[in-house]
């Protein structure tokens, strides 16, 4: 009896859309670098936004005191 392969046995690689683990590994370093750039870009442009100042930037260890607003209670409007 002849044992032969009639066609290649195709097997689907695990993927998300067209991104496979191998492709993702190739992009991973770049994504990390661009992610950091994006975070700092957003930080630069939201720096004057009170919501971000209060919740994010005032909590940065050393630099944070720049965004901590301390007004004498006497000087606040009633």
């Amino acid at each position: 009896m002849v044992n032969y392969i009639s066609k290649p046995a195709y097997k689907a690689v695990a993927h998300f859309g067209q991104i496979t683990p191998t492709a993702f590994k190739g992009y991973f370093t770049s994504l990390i670098f661009w992610g950091t750039a994006t975070v700092f870009g957003l930080a630069t442009f939201t720096e004057a936004w009170p919501l971000f100042q209060k919740n994010v930037y005032s909590k940065i260890p050393v630099l944070g005191k720049h965004w901590q607003k301390e007004v004498d209670p006497q000087d606040l409007p009633i």
């Binding site: 770049s30 670098f33 661009w34 950091t36 750039a37 700092f40 870009g41 930080a43 630069t44 720096e47 630099l63 720049h66 965004w67 004498d72 006497q74 000087d75």
Partner: protein
Amino acid sequence: MSFYHTVFNTVFKRNSVFLTTIFAGAFVFQAVFDEGVNKWWEARNKGKLWKDVKLTIPGAGEEEDDE
């Protein structure tokens, strides 16, 4: 030569690192510059600022009644 080589390799080689350097530099610089200028301004105008003057005003902080 070596110094420029190091700078090129650490900052300019990858566009993402270059951009991060620019944005991080801008973010940190504006805070440091602002703090520095404020400190200088307050030192230069010491005694003339509201926080110094209000201590010398008698009755400041008491209730004001304008009739």
